[in-house]
Amino acid sequence: MTTAHPPQPRYVDGNALAGPLAEIFAADLTPALRRCAHCHTVSAVAELHVYTHCPGLVARCPGCETLVLRLVRTDHTIWLDLGATGCIQLDLT
């Protein structure tokens, strides 16, 4: 019997954003919850789908794959595009 191996999805998850975002924000955003403006999925930033095979990092909603965040870094500059596709809630406790 042969076992079919489904193609591996080409993303990791928002846990991988923790280091790059720690360069910018004082608080860790990865446990924060995000409500998607398109599909209303509520997920942690840590659960976003993150594509690394591109210039920089691209994060998409796990529910509808809409663009959530783009982060590009060079030696001297960081570009961060947070779009306008949802609201992030960060608990202070």
Binding site: H5, Q8, V12, D13, N15, A16
Partner: protein, 244 residues
């Protein structure tokens, strides 16, 4: 804060498998971490070229010392050096601790299910070791999916430690099982998760870590078995658990 780079020195290393090694690093001023967190590690070549990768912390906080277990990625740029070449005294830089989502709070007493695919066992081992260090009696079930016995990490410790009462480990070999193992090689099934894991009635926190395909199928199985979506926490290792 977690976002800046600290100098690190390799203090010791241990072979875990042919393709993996645990590195013990001294990191000056390390602020401590929680089991499940990771670090970014940066290497700088003599010509100034740098490369950085993310690695899970394999053991709980111990002063200024941290442990990472690194798996060699075929054709990788950083991991072959860390697994086969790096020697005691070698220097690198570490940023962290990172990630506040995929963590086990040692004060938590609700049961815990840990589901690992291959190298995904690393952050889960930090939870197992933290449980032991804290003399926690929290119920733990570990389900460890791996290709063959040669790729098993922490062989002499995981499932054998005398101070791990209340922790049980189930091994699911997917390609080659040891002769003593009655289970034929194959993927971890939902039925096995139901049998060897913990039932949804106990509301366990489920930590799933491994390659993306393993994480997707295992998380789907947990939801189908009736576990609450918010009780299932996942961490995916990609083909390049990457850096920008």
């Amino acid at each position: 804060m977690a976002g800046h780079w600290r100098p690190a020195t390799l203090l010791d290393h241990r072979r875990e498998a042919a393709t993996a090694r645990t590195l013990v690093l001294h990191v000056a001023g390390w602020p401590g971490h929680q089991p499940g967190q990771h670090v970014d590690l940066r290497l700088t070549a003599e010509d100034g070229y740098t490369a950085q990768r993310s690695y899970s912390l394999a053991a709980p906080t111990s002063g200024d010392t941290i442990e990472l277990t690194v798996q060699r990625v075929p054709d990788g740029e950083v991991s072959p050096y860390l697994v086969d070449v790096a020697d005691i005294g070698d220097r690198s830089e570490v940023r962290g601790p990172l990630g506040g989502w995929f963590i086990w709070n040692t004060d938590q007493t609700t049961p815990v299910m840990l589901l690992a695919g291959g190298a995904g066992i690393v952050p889960l081992m930090a939870m197992v070791r933290a449980r032991r260090d804290q003399h926690s009696t929290t119920l733990f079930r570990v389900l460890y999916s791996l290709r063959c016995p040669q790729e098993r990490y922490y062989t002499d410790e995981l499932g054998h430690h005398p101070h791990d009462d209340g922790l049980e480990v189930f091994f699911a070999y997917t390609r080659h099982a040891p002769p003593s193992q009655p289970r034929p090689p194959g993927r971890l099934t939902p039925a096995e998760i139901a049998t060897h894991g913990l039932p949804p009635d106990l509301a366990p926190t489920c930590f799933v870590c491994g390659p993306t395909g393993f994480v997707e199928s295992t998380a789907d199985a947990l939801l189908a078995l009736g576990h609450h979506p918010r009780a299932v926490k996942t961490e995916r290792f990609g083909p390049s658990k990457g850096s920008p």
